[in-house]
């Protein structure tokens, strides 16, 4: 995604006019950089300069496109995307296991660069052998039993969840929605928002909403994100893991297990994600590979207690 470039005709002039423009533009530039500052802080430890620039361009463009799309609207999109995902997958009705992944996930989301979503982050295990995970906009995150079985310890579970939090942080799900629908929702149809729209408008807006949900679920379930988005989510995951002291090698370790278990041509991660090997290679350009992920007795015990039997 390219950032639109602003060209000022007066830039051709020299001398004083340039200085005046500089005085005018600098504060605006600084104000515009407030969001990018956060991105810099995420990325600086885990990405090379080229990657940082590329993600910054996308981030700026996304911020602009979705500027008027409020977290409240993102929340309603996410809820319905979640309900549609649950139409195809049965939830695992295991209160203790779901509580455990929520504790890990909510702690990780707290230290992400987007700890504040409208409705918060919530996690659910899907009762499926398929190796898969989904992040609905706004912070509803779903992981299958299959992907959790690729995790040998708590840090690996944290790595899976942190990757999905990365997708939420960068609004990757929302970006699957065609811009025309966003525009409809926030202007033409949104103008009659709140309690003032009539039946016709509501029906039209709901129809746009259905199309938007279809855009997101189509990407999440069938097509997958771009390799760039997956790389960005992996980079965010490494940063998040490091912030609370999980070994980021846990992400590599989990991908190595996944690589052995994924069936070529399968309908799960194999279809919607880049190969685990290519993700590992990319992650290892930014972290040092350890032979074994360190853990503690307490972490080992709680992982065994809540997830060993699933």
């Amino acid at each position: 995604m390219d950032t639109p470039r602003w060209k000022c005709p007066m830039m051709a002039r020299r001398g004083a006019a340039f200085r005046y423009l500089f005085a005018l533009a600098l504060p605006l530039f600084l104000a515009g950089c407030q969001g990018a500052g956060t991105l810099n802080s995420i990325a600086s430890n885990v990405l090379n300069t080229k990657n940082i620039e590329s993600i910054k361009k996308s981030y700026t463009a996304v911020s602009k496109t979705f500027e008027d799309f409020t977290p409240e609207q993102e929340y309603y999109v996410g809820r319905t995307v979640g309900a549609v995902i649950l139409q195809g997958y049965k939830p695992l009705d295991d209160r203790a296991a779901n509580r455990y992944i929520n504790q890990i996930g909510q702690m990780l989301a707290r230290v992400s660069d987007a700890p504040g979503t409208f409705g918060g982050y919530h996690f659910l295990i899907l009762d499926s052998d398929e190796i898969n995970a989904f992040a609905a906009p706004g912070g509803l995150i779903f992981v299958t039993r299959g992907i959790l079985r690729c995790c040998d310890n708590e840090a690996a579970v944290a790595a899976v969840l942190a990757h999905e939090i990365g997708h939420v942080q960068y609004k990757h799900g929302l970006q699957a929605i065609k811009k025309s629908r966003i525009t409809s929702a926030i202007t033409t149809l949104g103008i009659e928002g709140a309690k003032v729209f009539g039946g016709g408008r509501l029906s039209q807006l709901t129809s746009t909403f259905e199309d938007a949900i279809s855009d997101v679920t189509g990407t999440l379930i069938h097509n997958g994100y771009s390799r760039g988005f997956e790389r960005a989510a992996d980079a965010a995951a490494v940063t998040i893991l490091e912030r609370v002291g999980y070994d980021p090698n846990s992400l590599v370790e989990m991908l190595e297990v996944m690589e052995k278990r994924l069936k070529p041509g399968g309908l799960d991660f194999a279809r919607t994600h880049p190969s685990p090997r290519s993700r590992i290679e990319n992650i290892l350009t930014n972290i040092d590979r350890d032979d074994a992920v360190s853990t503690t007795q307490a972490r080992r015990e709680r992982f065994q207690r809540y997830l060993a039997s699933i």
Partner: protein, 165 residues
């Protein structure tokens, strides 16, 4: 020299534009999430000074990294909020028709419930009765207190991130 002065003045004014300010020059932001938290330090697990609701106004005092130093107007509590919880726009919770019209195109006002909202979700449910929201509602009920999350971190011998992140 006069022209230079005018341009510099415009530049200074533009610096304050991104944050709406009142007659006293105070800059405001609004809480854009349902459950906002004001902390004593600019850290993810800093002590909670006050809780903030959707649409609450804060006065901006300063910033450090992704954290804004604010005073929450409704409780007159001062502390730090993460930038992801805040917007420069004023959020109008109970909008009249004129507010809605202005809010649709304004850079300064956001209308709560504009566009995709609870009514749209209800209409979607009516049209798609096979899609069940029960587990989505259940998911949202799983939350933890500050103490529970901190205990989980400490029991696992994990670290509590420091200042300025």
């Amino acid at each position: 020299m006069k022209r230079a002065g005018i341009f510099i003045l415009i530049g200074i004014l533009c610096f304050f534009l991104p944050f709406p300010s009142d007659a006293r020059g105070e800059r405001f932001m609004s809480v854009q999430i349902r459950n906002g938290v004001v902390r004593s330090t600019p850290t993810f697990f800093g002590e909670v000074v006050a809780t903030a609701s959707y649409g609450d106004r804060v006065i901006l005092r300063g910033e450090r990294g992704a954290w804004k130093s604010v005073t929450l107007q409704s409780k007159w509590a001062t502390g730090w909020m993460h930038e992801s919880a805040l917007t420069k726009k004023e959020i109008v919770l109970r909008a009249g028709a004129s507010d809605v019209r202005v809010g649709a195109s304004s850079d300064e006002i956001a209308i709560a419930g504009k566009g995709f909202n609870t009514e749209v979700e209800e209409e979607f449910k009516r049209k798609n009765r096979d899609i069940d929201f029960t587990w989505v509602d259940r998911m949202e009920q799983v939350t933890f207190s500050e103490e529970e999350l901190l205990r989980f971190l400490r029991e696992g011998e994990l670290s509590v991130p420091g200042e300025g992140q």
